[in-house]
Symmetry: C2
Subunit: 99 residues, 2 copies
């Protein structure tokens, strides 16, 4: 998955060990998994060469990172001008998010 | 590595099979590797759940993707409040970029 962090989100990620992002639309921090339970336990933090991107290596609790129920957000493959959905959702988003 | 694409960069990537990005600072397309020779041959293209991020799986020509000479741009590891450089540069940027 790809998400945005501000400084506060990065500091929360460091101090809690749980991947924490910043929602620019909602203008608030969000601990990944706070609703779904699919928390990401941070195993390693990498920074890129020009210090403007962060790569987290995580243990993904629950079965999937994506809000669609897919393990990865990158589950759409471009092939011959079409988009193929790779794999099946591992949970039903309606059950997870509309509790 | 992480880089920006606009629609034109995406279309060039599709049509040429070489990863092509858009430099927002220089306001121009750039074919990755056009200076260094370290072209990225695109093997697979993934799109994320909300259609605003692209993951390229590539064959990295030359020895490294990063302009520093490291294989990955994400070669800085955050550990105990310090930043560790992981691995050694695989080429000398001075030799590659100052020809």
């Amino acid at each position: 998955m790809l998400a945005y962090m501000n400084q506060q989100a990065f500091e929360a990620t460091l101090s809690t060990g749980k991947a924490t992002y910043y929602s620019r639309s909602r203008q608030t921090l969000w601990v990944k998994g706070e609703t779904s339970g699919n928390v990401q336990l941070v195993k390693e933090i990498r920074i890129d060469c020009d210090d403007d991107a962060i790569l987290l290596k995580v243990e993904q609790l629950g079965r999937a990172a994506c809000h669609t129920g897919h393990r990865s957000c990158f589950h759409k493959k471009v092939e011959n001008g079409s988009i193929l959905i790779m794999g099946e959702p591992l949970f039903d988003p309606k059950e997870v998010y509309n509790k």
